[in-house]
Symmetry: D2
Subunit: 468 residues, 4 copies
């Protein structure tokens, strides 16, 4: 007998029936739903709204149901709409009338919020661990190439010589910031919503502190209308995911370009490449392309939620059913692409030969800033030095010569201060080491950074350790 039968004469119309059930989506929350119901039965027992025998019956029945679902034997039904009503119906089949007491004074409006928060605590904890693992892998790759000097790029044009490790470390920092966000977010997620009722709060004097404790929360939500209406706790999770995936899309773009035939600095592990169904020679960076592409679905998940919530009146509206797919998709996608990027850093090969050609190639133009700095050290104002070297570069390009191939005489055409010592500049290790400030690419600084990151990774325990 459906919930609606008391109130309405007509059944759900067929077209509505096609969008009404959410069980195909929210069944994923079965563990959280059952955990919440077990705690709630405890609270009802504590308040003597149900007897201890009924409580035991309910808890036993719910545990069986959890097992049934885990093992794939649970008879899900679209008619029962969602996970809450599916579980209740099954509970009745198992234990009879006592099942109908479980929902006493509880609303699906609060129940779904609890389920989502429990799920998000688990997902956030996993996300943090996965971010950490990916940072570790990138850090591992960095440690192997501190002294490999590559051109650093701005605007996809060669800029200055830099340690390849410095680039890999640049990938670690935003992922570490994503971890900081997980930990900040955790505080807001750690507030138990049960007891909010449909909108006005429980009318049964349910013990919310008891429920918080049983469900592993540090506190409770403070306003029942807020608790059933707002979804910023989902938005914030998806935002963290979207930012992380956008960062990963940039890392992927880099690795795709750096491993192209034309750059050739890196070789991707075979296990992350595929070939073409038509062109047998192809070794395509599909895994990275998927990481790059999948970032778009997480941005879209965020947009979906923002557009969903925009202009929605308080308190609970059925529109909110649409909050779950973007949440799950953001979590699944982010975890899976983090795993891929981790795997790639673990298997990445560096082609030092090709890298050397690139650094030494293109007429030493990569040392132009060093030449400008040389002039500055001899008293030329920087802006003037910059223009002078700009002209030298223009001249060299036209003459098809490298900077080290220009004669001192040629240099002097642009500035009388030049002498033989200018040729000492064309040493890329020296150039790298000159960037000797905290956060710079000098080899010692890069090693310093590695040390700091290693310490940061060791610090602290997992989010929610012990609580779920």
């Amino acid at each position: 007998m459906a919930l609606r039968d008391g109130r309405f004469e007509n059944p759900v119309s067929e077209s509505f029936g096609r969008i009404n059930p959410s069980i195909h989506v929210d069944r994923r929350l079965f563990k959280e739903d059952i955990r919440g119901s077990i705690a709630y039965a405890g609270a009802l027992g504590k308040n003597k709204i149900i007897s201890r025998e009924e409580e035991a019956l309910i808890v036993g029945g719910l545990s069986e149901i959890e097992k049934e679902i885990e093992e794939g034997g649970f008879p899900f039904s679209e008619e029962d709409e969602d996970i809450h009503m599916n579980v209740e119906r099954r509970l009745f089949e198992k234990i009879g009338e006592a099942a109908y007491k479980l929902h006493t004074g509880r609303s699906r409006n609060e129940q779904i919020v609890l389920d989502e928060m429990l799920y998000l605590k688990k997902a956030t904890s996993e996300l943090d661990r996965s971010l950490k693992a990916t940072v570790s892998a990138a850090l591992g790759a960095a440690k192997g190439c501190v002294e490999v000097v590559v051109p650093s790029y701005t605007h996809l044009r060669r800029a200055q010589p830099a340690s390849l490790a410095h680039l890999f470390l640049a990938y670690c920092h935003p992922l570490q910031r994503a971890r900081e966000r997980c930990s900040d977010y955790w505080k807001r997620l750690d507030r138990m919503p049960l007891g909010s009722g449909a909108v006005a709060g429980s009318a049964l004097g349910i013990d919310r502190a008891y429920l918080a404790d049983k469900l592993g929360f540090s506190g409770i939500t403070e306003n029942s209308i807020d608790a059933v209406s707002t979804r910023d706790f989902i938005l914030e999770f998806v935002w963290i995911c979207a930012e992380a995936c956008t960062t990963l899309s940039r890392i992927s773009e880099d690795l795709i370009i750096l491993s192209s035939e034309e750059f050739g600095f890196l070789r991707l592990p075979d296990g992350f490449c595929t070939t073409s169904s038509l062109m047998p020679q192809k070794a395509n960076p599909d895994a990275l392309e998927l990481v790059r592409g999948k970032s778009s679905r997480v941005t879209a998940a965020l947009v979906s939620l923002f557009t969903l919530l925009k202009g929605l009146p308080y308190s609970y509206d059925r529109d909110l059913q649409e909050d779950k797919e973007p949440m799950f998709d953001a979590a699944d996608t982010t975890l899976s692409v983090l795993g891929v990027v981790k795997g790639i850093f673990e298997g990445l090969k560096v082609n030092e030969e090709r890298i050397k050609l690139a650094v030494e190639g293109s007429g030493d133009l990569i040392f132009a800033t060093d030449v400008a700095d040389w002039l500055v050290r001899r008293g030329i104002p920087f802006r003037e030095a910059h223009r002078t070297v700009g002209k030298i570069v223009g001249f060299a390009v036209k003459e098809k010569k490298g900077l080290r191939e220009l004669s001192v005489g040629e240099y002097r055409r642009f500035c009388g201060l030049f002498d033989e010592s200018v040729y000492d500049l064309f040493d890329y290790r020296r150039s790298v080491d000159s960037h000797d400030v905290p956060g710079g690419t000098a080899f010692t600084r890069v090693r310093e950074q590695i040390g700091t990151l290693e310490k940061a990774l060791k610090r602290g325990e997992d989010l929610g350790a012990g609580s779920h």
Copy 2:
């Protein structure tokens, strides 16, 4: 034996293996894929690349496979990545070596584009028919309430009396424009891509005109790189859906508000309402809330595609695998919410009693524009008349009187021209009928509009009739 085994020593790594297969998504394209392959086998036969016997074997095998999938007996495999390779593998199991000739000179890059275009032709045709059905339903509702006068609203505040039918007709026009877009889009969709190869075009002199004809297309794509790279043909479909769903979200908002206890103009059919799991009195407009909410996922699908494509280098990149879920989701969602809105218009009840109270209530303020027009007809410049009536309204509100309760003497305090004839204005049928221009709410104009829309609905045949 996987495609990759020739080229690589290592299998797909586990983490990549989790995002690499698309078969769980693109299996939906099996009919299109098989239809394309049957046509392609014909072209290979025609060009004597395969024998007529081989062609017959292939076509027979493919037809069997189609049936297997339809009946749920097909052994899908993640290892074979996608629908194309699943079908090829199965074909080999059925007919042996000839199966390995089907892919001759064909690339998955072009094959997926064909599958998507065939799917989108079907989906666009369905969308157009579904839009038409929803317009018909709204038109039907309009026909039943031409003479029901409601307050029209701007800023959710009562504006002027209007025919309720006029409002329902206002919902029809944007949906008709969506149908125009379907038909415009069709031209761009009606270009057959096969023969584009992986990127450079078929090297087998395949007969593209023959393929177009067999697959029901009016023309062929004109550049092989464009054909495998661009996805504007998906973007445009999703755009049409997103616009339609946003329109439907506004119609839903209207119907939710107009059927609230406080407005009470409309009663939603029971079959589109649900009750609360906690509050037994509730008759909630869940169906409409879902229509409103689901618009967000179609906007998000569009964002997903735009973000996906942004900055992607030519030609095919694996990122494009991510184009299918937003496409399917936009189609499914739009079709399902159109069905719901159609059903609601078919069952909508009008509460004329509550409507009358609203029109006559609130102190006749709804006639304020009529009073201003009365002054204009007596020679007062409109802006001055507007201000005068503004003051009269302010006075009436302060005195807690309706406009018809003010005495002539009170009217004259604001303008000496007033006389008894002002009271004739407070007749909402007269007010409605005064809006007598094409597109206005006068009853005759509303009937005119109904006639025009009915004719428009009858015109023309279904998109793609006969071609697929």
Copy 3:
């Protein structure tokens, strides 16, 4: 002489010249830019790269320039592209050659990041204060209506009686969470980027700790490539704004509906309404509609940034120029709509008469849950009680009677346990007070909540107090 003249023979082409300059946007950062340059001159002086005299000249010139810009007399030039080069050019006009030393070893890539971070610290601090002020105003409104009982709504349908203050407090909590986010974000914003150079780090051994101290930062960025490449520090700010504005859009929707002629619970202050240019009676809630509408531009700002960053290769790319308009727009919009909502809460009038009609109207259906709870207290399992009351409601609606108008005999048709005491339920103050859990709507709980929020508002000092 433009920067490019050293390197290129041709000037910027006309079409590029139309999108190349950013000075119309980044001029807003002049204070931050000059503050950064003064600190940088100090660092150059400290390192003896410039003399103390040159430093004094530079600092003096920059201070003059700041004043010129403030007073509107600064000659901005599109040819100088951006704020950095405009200031440098003007500095040269003022102090000659020393100006050309200011840029020594510094890149615009790091300079713009510094400017943006300084701006965002100011904006975040303002945002936090503005959120606090709006919360205070809503709290003030709540304090005035603790005992005003309204229907609470779910699905825009009357649910249960609740304190109007409880609703207003529900608006406070998400805004307080936004303040928590500001404070969390602050930590990530508080890292000084200067010294990162173009990409590889300063080659001048510049003292970054000195710069951090002078510029009011607690720490420094840890990787020069990360510092010039990533923009998550802007994304995070815009995310906080977008979430806050989406919350405000929901509050606006509520207030628009609750102040409509049909609901009539609230009256908006005149100063936040407008009238129509045609219909003189209108008092339209334009201010709230703009708040609701403007949320879309902040969501769009976030999308703009996500789409911008997606797939961008490391490190600095010129695409990043596009990061500033969404940042400014998010800040400006959020601050202005917060001000409006604050003003509305300060002037909101409650219409207790209309509210009473609504609570007592519609046949006491609002007490249906109370009736179900009554049955539960007499031993009926909740789900059964729910269905029984569902049927009673169906019966009452059909009979056009209110729940208190049904006779005991009629009640007993549905359940034999009913007696006269059921009529005691139809008292909305009793109903409100029955929701007596932390976070519930019982009057004492609402007062408790007010106390907690007042304490929270008093706690803590302003973000960044003293540091800028």
Copy 4:
């Protein structure tokens, strides 16, 4: 005296006053607004609502005002909120009371729609012409390099030899499709909205056909509520722009990569590059990066509009004020980036030397498909041929040999059919010419395509030619 003074006692509150005026945005519509008002005065005169003398006064005054605004002498005022009221106020200053008759029976709700439609007709026409110019430029570039053979790319990995012209032509087709969209959209834009009043239609029997004719529209809108409520006519424009800009972002990405030091196929014209403020050697592709980056703001404009409209009740709501900035920004951005891409194609240089190295480099792997096709022609099923060549490639890579460096003996290890004729395959002109189907890269096919596109560009006249 402000419009509101009749109706309200209090002025606009300060915080609302900061977001209420739209004159800083909608002043751009002054020409359209005045044009509409002149036509409307004609209609009022025709209907004898104003005298011919008043009409002449009004038209004369409006023409003066247009000139004042053009010349920068118009005193815009925030107090008058928008362009409509600014013009009305000024008209009163010029011609006195007759000015107050211009607004008779007209609402700003319809007026703004007219202004926007007139603007969009102009913008769409410009957009179409600008798309055409950019296609012409790309076509021009294509004509210069039909016989330049480059590697075509899939997954940013070398795929098969192709004509560089074929790639440039691939850029033309989606832009031509954008032009088709402009023309389809035009039909929907070509419906005149005036006469819709505030919401219910004009009550003055205004001659809408006359207005349509005077304002250059082919038809009129059919429902007054639809006319003032919906904004799909803006959404559709912005959609067309967003799609075009996303296409341009992909073209930019290509050109940035192909002109990098590592690829070196193309050289961008100096006038579209900039240098670094720190690194004097840099020649950065800033113009293209801005084109790529700016696509994000047009996608965001579309999102802004979708989010704005989502769930908005009919009919006009003030939220709609927010429709103009995304509209203007989409138009401005798209036109400016089209201009840049056009300029780049006009000045692009091809580096045939570097291209030749790339095609001949990397061990002839680019001919792998040709080798597979060779086997197919000798009877090997394609899938088997594909795997065989996959293995040959794997072997060659391991041996660090090119495909042409393998001996016949080595080939025979993989398939006994190989003979000397396999070496004939390693000729990239032959390979290109083998892709001989319509739309393929064979030189004759590319020339065919050029001819077709040239004809298409010549066909048809400009959108709206003569009508505005």
